[in-house]
Symmetry: C2
Subunit: 207 residues, 2 copies
């Protein structure tokens, strides 16, 4: 049973010291003139080169390399994979938690969509009416989609834009919200019907 023949003594070594780290160096140049015992020499050479290339590629994927050794490259790759897996787990958990906490918001939005549909199904349209009921006093009636916090935003906007509400009534039904109120100018300003109606339309569009 023969193994590792003695014909290898003639192998030619050439000292190329163009080392790239420790891996990937080429110490020996192949001598195509001499005869080899094994026929699978080229296949083995290809196999070695392929494995070396893969290892090099793996090294390029891993950010932190402690050593250039083959074994350490694989070891670093393993720790990097573990790190990535943990990262993925952490992120997905965090994402799941966030989705759980924002479930309420999603529910709210779905409620609002349902409210809008119900409102349209019942033939109720958004509407603004303004009537002069006294000197410097207007009576307004607003019909709008019921959305969470929309009444508060409406009151805030009206107050901010100089409409003082003296008596306000709110009713909600079939996905719609009806607001009727007596308003006057915050600083005793006289309000025209057209002016106020345009103002209210602007407010409703923005909230």
């Amino acid at each position: 049973m023969e193994f590792l023949g003695s014909a290898m003594n003639e192998l030619c070594f050439t000292q190329e010291s163009n080392r790239r780290g420790r891996l990937g160096r080429r110490k020996v140049e192949y001598d195509d003139t001499r005869e080899y015992k094994s026929k699978n020499l080229h296949a083995e050479r290809r196999r070695r080169q392929k494995l070396s290339d893969r290892l090099l590629a793996l090294r390029s994927m891993v950010p932190i390399i402690t050593n250039m050794n083959k074994a350490t490259i694989i070891e670093d790759a393993i720790t990097y994979i573990q790190e990535l897996q943990q990262n993925v787990k952490l992120l997905s958990d965090q994402l799941l938690e966030m989705e759980g906490s924002s479930e309420e918001a999603v529910q709210t939005r779905s409620d609002e969509i349902n409210a809008a549909e119900e409102m349209k199904n019942c033939g109720i349209m958004e509407d603004v009416q303004v009537t002069n009921i006294d000197r410097n006093k207007l009576w307004i009636k607003i019909i709008l989609e019921k959305k969470r916090g929309r009444f508060t935003r409406l009151i805030e906007a009206m107050t901010y834009l100089g409409l003082e509400l003296t008596d306000t009534n709110v009713a909600t039904s079939k996905g719609a919200m009806l607001v009727s109120s007596c308003v006057e100018g915050s600083y005793g300003d006289t309000l025209t019907v057209e002016q106020t109606k345009d103002l209210l339309l602007e407010i409703i569009k923005s909230i």
Copy 2:
């Protein structure tokens, strides 16, 4: 220059065919009786075993293995790492987007906290008053912390629990919300002052 001496012909091969896949097989048993030319034989054996172990560990980390080859193991590990990196990027992007969209909610909560503090600083306390103004008609006054959507929830709860609101007035100031309303039983039921006050306190506690 000597290379690969002929003394290796005596190497003993034993045919163990307990193959685990293709990697990790032990075809050759070491013969400690014979003499070896190289002194670094054991070191080389250790190095080979270590590298093989690392490769085995790497294989165990990667879920999908197309082949048991050394090169393919590394290749699969590379693709797995790329997959994991892409996964991390996707998840972190999604998380960032979610945080951005939930910024509004955080702002709302901070507003509510500020409102509650402002309200307490002004010496305003939550309060419920119920007065009988007519047969089957009560006048109620509620002071409570202003929170987004709380008025809507209040009206919904009152309606659901059998309180019909006939005339309602809402004012917000200094982080507080004042609701005054005339109420009667939804189905003509008579309401007592105590009953209604307890009901309102329950509602406010839960919204």
